[in-house]
Symmetry: C2
Subunit: 298 residues, 2 copies
Amino acid sequence: MSCTADFSGSPYADEVRGQVEAALEGYTELGDGCPDDLRAAMRYSLLAPGKRLRPMLAILAAEACGGSRVEAMPAACAVEMVHAYSLIHDDLPAMDDDDLRRGLPTCHRKFGEALAILAGDALLALAMEVLADGVWPAEAAAACCRVLARAAGPCELVGGQADDVRNGGGAAGVEMLESIHRRKTGAMIGASLRLGAITARAGAAELDALDGYGRSLGLLFQITDDLLDVCGRQEQTGKRVGKDGDLKKLTYPGLLGTEESLRRAEQLCAEACRKLAPLGSRAHGLEAVALSVLRRNR
Amino acid sequence: MSCTADFSGSPYADEVRGQVEAALEGYTELGDGCPDDLRAAMRYSLLAPGKRLRPMLAILAAEACGGSRVEAMPAACAVEMVHAYSLIHDDLPAMDDDDLRRGLPTCHRKFGEALAILAGDALLALAMEVLADGVWPAEAAAACCRVLARAAGPCELVGGQADDVRNGGGAAGVEMLESIHRRKTGAMIGASLRLGAITARAGAAELDALDGYGRSLGLLFQITDDLLDVCGRQEQTGKRVGKDGDLKKLTYPGLLGTEESLRRAEQLCAEACRKLAPLGSRAHGLEAVALSVLRRNR
C-alpha cells in the first residue's frame, strides 16, 4: 500500500468527496417550510470547501467492514452535518467569537447571530432525520441514531465544548486538555467510524478495531490541529495564525512544546495503524488517512 | 365525561406530571463527561415548573391507541426536552432577548449565553438518544426519531422560529402568522401525539385522527397564548404582560382583535374534539386537554 501518498488529494478521496458533497446538496434542498435565508445559512456552512474527513471515515469504515458506499452515504452526510453545526455554534460571539472559518466569514458574520444559531440547530436535527430515514434496516437506523445522538450530546461533543469555553483562560492541565479533545473531536471521529461500520453490519471484533483506531486518530488530529495553528500559514488553515495562543487556549504545543507534540503525533499515528490489523487489507484507506493527518502540517 | 373539569389540575394530570418529571430527572443525571454547570443549566430549564403539555399529549395519545404509559415515557420525555431546548434558544439575546421564563430568569440570564446555547444543543441531542435507546422495537424507535427530528428541523420548528425572528417587526399578515405557529407550536404538538401513538403501534386511522386533532389544538394553543399575553397577569404567565405587543410581534389579537380571536379559539376547540371521534371513549383525556387549553385565560 502506498502509505506515502497524500490521501486527501488522492483520486479515491476526490471521488468520495464529490459524492458526499452531491448528497449533502441534495439533503439541504429542503422543502416547504424552510425559509430561504435559513437554508442559505445551513448550506453556506455545510457546503463550504473542506476535506470531509468525517464522511470519509464513515465510508472507509463501511468499506473496511465489507459494506457499500451507497449504504453508508446517509451516515456520512449526517456526521458532516453534526460537524458543521458544531463549528457554527463554536464560532458564535458567546463562544470562541471567530470571524473566519475555512478562509470565509463565519456563519454569524455572514447571516447574523440568530440565523447562525438556528442553522446549527437545524443541521443537528436534519442529521438525525437523515439517519432515521436513510439507514436500513430499522435496527441499524436506531443504532446509528443512538450512536450519533450520544456523540453529539452533553457527555461528549457539547460537554467538551462547555469545558473548552470555561477553560479558555488556559488554567487547566494536560488531562483536561485531552478530556476536552476526546469529547469535542474524538467522539465524533469515533461515531463516524462506528456509523459506517453499522451500515455494513460489522461484527464486534471489527467495531473494536475501529474504536481503537478512532481513539488514536482523534488525539492525533487534535495535536496536528494545534501544531498547524503554531506553524501553519493563514492561507492553509483559513483562520488567523496564533489565534489560539493569543487567547491562551489550551494547546498541545503550549503544554508540551512543539518537539514533544510532534513526537506524540508520530506515536499516535503508528498506534492507529496497528489497531487496524484485524481488518486486514481492506483497512488500507484508513491507514492512509492517519498518515495524511500526521503529515498535514509538514 | 366531565368536560368542564380543569384537566391540567386533575388527579390524572398530576399523577402523569409527577411520573414524567421523575423520568426527566433520571434522564438528566447523566454520566461522566457532562460538566456540572452544563448539567445544571439543562436541568434548570427542563425541570422548571410547567404543565408538561407535550409529554401529556404523548401519553394520552398512546393510551387512546391502547398503549401503555411506561412504553410512551421515553417519547414523552423526548418531546419535553425538545420543547425546553427551543425555549432556551428562543429566549437568547440574539432572538427574543427575554429575561424571564415561567417566572424565573431565563437560562442565559442565569448561566450565561454560552452555556445556554450548549444546554439547548445538549437537550436536542439527548432527546434523540432517549428515543433511539428507549423506544422498542427498533422499527418504532427509528420511526420516532424520524418524526421528532423532522418536527424539530428546518422545515418545522427551526423554520418557524427563523420566520418569527425576521418578522419581529410585525409586517407580515395572518397567513405568515399561522404558518409560523403551525411550524413553531403545531409541529411539536403533532409530533408529541404521533410519537405516543407510534409507541402504542397505532394504525393509520388512529394516526390520522390524532393528526387532525393536533392541527386544531396547535392553533388553539397559540391563539390562547396570544390572548393570555393581552389579558393575562404576569403572575399567571411568568413573563411581562404586553411584551409581545411592545415588540410589535405578530399576534392573533393584534391581527384579528380580541373578540374574533376568542371566537376562533372556540371553533378550533370544537373542531379538535370532533376529530377524535374515531378513537372513541379512550380519547376523552385528549378532549379534556383541548377544553383546558381553551379555558386557560378565563
